[in-house]
Symmetry: D3
Subunit: 319 residues, 6 copies
């Protein structure tokens, strides 16, 4: 039995074995009264729905959601989507399976660019900030949350929803917004601080474990925008002499970064920097969605299927 290719390369007739992270596992009762299991599996390149119809009680006891698993099965098309029909599954035995090539990193859906490289780029940009108070504040937050900022996704599901997605999102926004700030003579340090901190409240809004993110109590009741504000306020309070007007401008960036009240910002952009931040954030999120939709569309047509969230089909030629 051959090893399965990476999930991103899986074909409708692929069959074999592989290592994956199981991020969800549910028992369902089929129409005939017999149970089956429905799973979500991922590797570094993509994620997939998987089903187990045979020996459900035995296999169900072999692993839990949140664990790495060794799977045998074959790909199959269901309602136009690839899925994996699993014939055998068990949790990974790290030492033994490492000899067969198991690597944790290879089993977690991840940003395409290496995390160390992105982290280095980000810290370099922050290190080059001119305004001392902002630089200290941003550096301190980066230092305090380095572990999460290197690993977390940028959102639960909509965009950059994979390991390193948070970092990928802000590194790309930093790159884009630098040019935009220069073109408009905006305060580049302030924009960069806004880029790094705009979603910082997500570290409290979400809980990210074993490759999947869920909303926390404060995530639902308070939300990442207000949580981010509190975090910035507290960080500024810890830096003596942090200018009061600068703090207001920075907090304004965090609060207004969704661009409009309809999208959840309690105040709307009122500074050039806030217009730039909200624009670059939305563009980066949209392009990430477009790229993903084009990549995941397996049809032969020039256009993807209907993208529900964007409300349109997308052109695959040249993307």
């Amino acid at each position: 039995m051959p090893r399965l290719p990476r999930l991103a390369a899986l074909a409708p007739d692929s069959a074999g074995w592989g290592f994956f992270l199981c991020t969800s596992k549910e028992v369902r009762t089929g129409r005939s009264g017999s149970d089956f299991l429905i799973l979500t599996l991922q590797d570094v390149s993509a994620q997939i729905t998987a089903k187990i119809f045979d020996d459900v009680p035995r296999f169900g006891a072999e692993f839990d959601a949140g664990e790495f698993v060794r799977v045998e099965g074959k790909a199959s098309v269901f309602n136009g989507q690839l899925q994996l029909i699993v014939s055998s599954i068990r949790r990974v035995h790290v030492e033994q399976d490492r000899r067969e090539g198991f690597r944790e990193d290879e089993c977690v859906l991840s940003a395409p660019r290496p995390i160390d490289e992105m982290w280095a780029e980000l810290t370099a940009r922050v290190g080059a900030m001119q305004e001392g108070h902002l630089r200290v504040l941003v550096r301190r937050i980066l230092a305090d949350h380095e572990a999460e900022l290197r690993e977390w996704p940028a959102a639960q599901a909509i965009h950059h929803a994979y390991r390193g997605g948070f970092l990928e999102h802000i590194v790309k926004m930093a790159e884009v917004s630098e040019g935009v700030s220069r073109a408009y003579g905006a305060d580049a340090d302030l924009v960069l601080a806004g880029v790094v901190l705009h979603d910082i409240g997500k570290l409290q809004e979400l809980a990210y474990e074993a490759g999947s993110a869920s909303y926390t109590r404060d995530g639902n009741l308070i939300g990442h925008i207000a949580l981010g504000l509190i975090l910035v306020r507290e960080a500024a309070a810890g830096i003596s002499g942090f200018p009061i007007e600068l703090r207001s401008k920075l907090e304004h960036l965090v609060l207004s970064h969704h661009g409009s009240r309809e999208h959840g910002s309690p105040v709307e952009p009122k500074t050039i920097e806030a217009f730039i931040l909200a624009t670059v954030d939305e563009l980066d999120a949209k392009i990430n969605q477009v790229r993903r939709a084009v990549r995941e569309d397996v049809g032969e047509r020039e256009f993807t299927g209907w993208h529900k969230r964007l409300g349109r089909v997308l052109y695959k030629g040249g993307i």
Copy 2:
């Protein structure tokens, strides 16, 4: 020359003198090239636009916006609104004018109910709260901000926009929401805390001086909803053992009290208490607007003129 009646009782042909607070003063150049002054005057019962056409340089030097003034003039209808044509004006000389009956309180537009009475009712309600942490927190905030909470309006212009309006708004909401909470078995202490604190950020959002409110820098850049959140977070941090879940529920009340994102709440009500608070807040604000529109409409018809904000006329019969 007789003394003018209170502004609420002014008739189109009233003429005489009176004491008022001048809340705005602007010089304008008329079409003929001559200047005139346009003022806003108020007393305890209402406010009015006033104009000075004669001796502008002399009268203009006699007072400033934010001062109490002694005015002679006559009422007049302009575009369907009463205004005052001023023939003479000077700032109040407190000692001298007190002999003629000048009283500061009589010159500031105010809630109809005595402030001490409302304050006593509010503190009694708060004192009766069962949940100790909440009671301590609310009491502390009341104590810290008593001066503003007794004097400030509830909003710059839309509803309860007069001295004591903030207090009137929360006292009435406390009365209404008590019955609603009981009917639905909601946490009455939590709702009451939400009532007292929902707009507490307005103390930083607005600056209220000399009878008129304006937006501060943080009011525009951060807004009272997020400012209120920070204030509650800091107050809770000062109370040892304040339960974390209780804090989340309370902050949720502050953040969601506008009821929807369109109206500026970054999160929408997700608890019974939040639904009640948002509902009672909106109803109280609307009824205040309706009452004011009915009171200010001087026509003889059964309905007011078009109320732009509410998008309708209002029935005057029985209100």
Copy 3:
């Protein structure tokens, strides 16, 4: 084989027998070509979807939608919802089954509070109305429609959709609005009349039989708001000397109670009483939905799943 618990207490592994009302019954052809039956069953506490896969022709002949049935089966989770897999079913034989404990009332989904108690509270409130014409009108309508008003649901599906739900809705609204009217000095009799009559057109809009409600021809073509208006107009015509202005105010309450044109009111609230009625109606309907969503959510998380109609998740802590 044990007796099943009430549906509200059903667990994923419950098995046994019970008496229910079957409110819908449909034959479907499965993928394999074999037919199965899909039912809705209810008892006093909840309702559930049930399926019959075996002996379909025989069981299908044993009962019809709208009948009470005796069922044997076991609970099962399908797409995250509890359902009942039926192994045996027949219609109830009243005399025989009563010996086993069959009671009609126990098989119809009902308001939690006893109907007689709610009815007594409502008639007491109405009896205490000061304004004679209104009291006569409301009493007459209560008398003419007592049977329906005691039994009907408040809506087909969205809120209070069970036996006695209509009564529960107006009794709770009467309780809440009494305090609100007092607080704002509104005409309490008028508000109470509006509470009782605002949905009275539903008695013609819906047909309620055997535990399920459906839209009538006039329900679809005319709607309960306009039907209620006609009913009120006719009732007022039957009371000599009913004041014309009072009739207008009352009809305005019925017409405007959805609060806005978008929600189906041809006129929007223009009196204090109309603002109160629309507010209390919406709050009561929303709280009923929130309570139901929290009660029906079987997961262990602190929040319910996504509530499609309210467009959010709901906090289960303390509701």
Copy 4:
């Protein structure tokens, strides 16, 4: 001094005398403290704003709103609109002025087509209806309200707001909808009945006197859609054997004729006839507005100025 041309033909430099209906009259105090009068005058062809600056007390006593007046003055452009600066005004002395050519009809803004001709066309169409119950019902309503139906405008301000406008509106709708009904095999009698009755509630919604319409109490509190329903319900009740389904369909037409809930219909079209009625009503109202905007635009450009209600400019070439 020459006689002024009809208002529709007035030029920026016209001066002279004429007879008009004065539909509104207001005293205003100018900036200099002196009063002036602002009037609305109309003749059969158009209406105009007029102002009196001189001898205000004397002229003000010479007439009231709602009276025919003899005016001397000259046209003038103010903010891009023609107005009349009045140098002399008095109420009409019918007998004396008739010798100078005064005719009431010539002084009331009116539909361009003769009312008798339109009435004859409408009654002929109604007389040709096949369905007996509908024909009796519509005829009876026409007979009961002939006076108003011949004279009233179709709306207070937006479209067909002149004498005979109501009749003009339904006669044109009857002509258009006849062809549409035929094309789609719709029930032409039902559509015609809907055309005649869709706005019948306006006879109670508005009060039309002396050339100007205002909202009544029931107009504001109940609205013409619901008032029309009641009128139709009562008329049907007076015709023995009026089919219940036919009544529902007809009432549905009245209720749904604004096409959507946003526009004030409590139910939306659910029959072919209702779709046709709502479509023809909206088109006729819009074309009337377009025609008026093109006619009233006095500029030389190919397009009118911005039409606030339609949200666009309109092409004058060929309209």
Copy 5:
């Protein structure tokens, strides 16, 4: 084995054989791991979903999407919709099957009215146009695209989505708009030209083959409104002396025919003719949808099920 009735007449228990066009064919893997085929079949009267569970590999090789097929099977209800369970299928052998009654025309879903008759009516109307340039232009376009205009549907799915639907749509619009134009004194030639050309860009927006329409690259990237504009511009350029203003008015009709920007028109109607065209287009599309929903609803109730696109149920009485 009997011959199946036309699909429009198919009953839940029909069984037999028939000739159809297969417009889509997909392989799916069932839960048990076995594959099945899901097809769309149509005849002149209706279309239906069909499934093949047995001998999938063999039957799958017997035909392709886009081919005529001979099918044996029986009707069945699935989720409230009729479907066909296929027991045998093969592609049509034209010569042999013609002896059994196969006719291509009978197998393609088509407009109810004969195409030749509709085409004759349309060309007669066009031939009677007074304005020479418009007549030449419209005739030329009709001549250039006769084949497509006779065969194509008016849309991919929403309305008139069958053979001859495009022609049926414009012929009906021509009939309706003629009367409307006359009633309002609009330029009937211009409106007719607009009717014929408003959707002409669909010939490039869609690709219609073998009974099914799909979007082309330019259809998605440019859209039929802009494609229609280009086509009209080019056609006008080919007619010497085509008046420039007439071209603008005609292009305006094409561009504004969706009535508002929200519906995809880059400019909104600014001429009487454009208001008429947009109104008639929308009404014809809606009535087509209503008729189809009523026809396809197989229940016994007076109203159809919920129509998702129109957002309501529809009355079946008399439609």
Copy 6:
């Protein structure tokens, strides 16, 4: 009498003489019956409203809208805006006035950056395009329209509404989008072509003369988006071998650049390049509006007055 400063530097008490372009001139009749003139004047730095109250007939004959004028007057504040009260005005006599320092360029409101410099930057960018067909097409259009592209504003009123504004807008967009394209690996040539051509239809939509822009017939009836499409289509037709797919992508950019149908794009962005173009266009227009609002706000507060179009106040600190 001193020379007035540039309009951007005008203070409320400035008095003196200067040269301006008069872009509008209207006669109005004041309340007293006397006429006055209302003008719009501009110089290179700003524009202002001016009024003439004295000697109206004489001065009115001295110049026309669209001419350069020599003005004497003094600044004055009216409704919070600076205006100029003109005491003397005549048209410029070029030769004579040049000796006093008259220069046409100094009298036309213009982009702050020199036009030659912007033109050079743009042509350099275009010259560096890699894709030959696009480069030829863009160059050809630049060459054909150089005169307009150097002089025209980007819009009639909303943003970049001054001489050279069109060029300033696309040069800035080219700068910004270059970085964005690089960051996302988009087709930079295609984006640049889209930047240059997205508003090219404005050259037909507007007529720009004597410093003011107005809508043409085709501007109103067809609009710049569709006009731009036609222009691109025709230009591509003139380049042999222009790839069909490239043409579709380019036309898609022009059509979708407003980002949504609500904003007038008949198709919405479906390629990465289209998302980038629409984003950069909107950001550049918004920042131009923000900058202008901040610059024109003469108050001393930290925030501008309410910006109607953006629906907010704007922070002046640091912009």
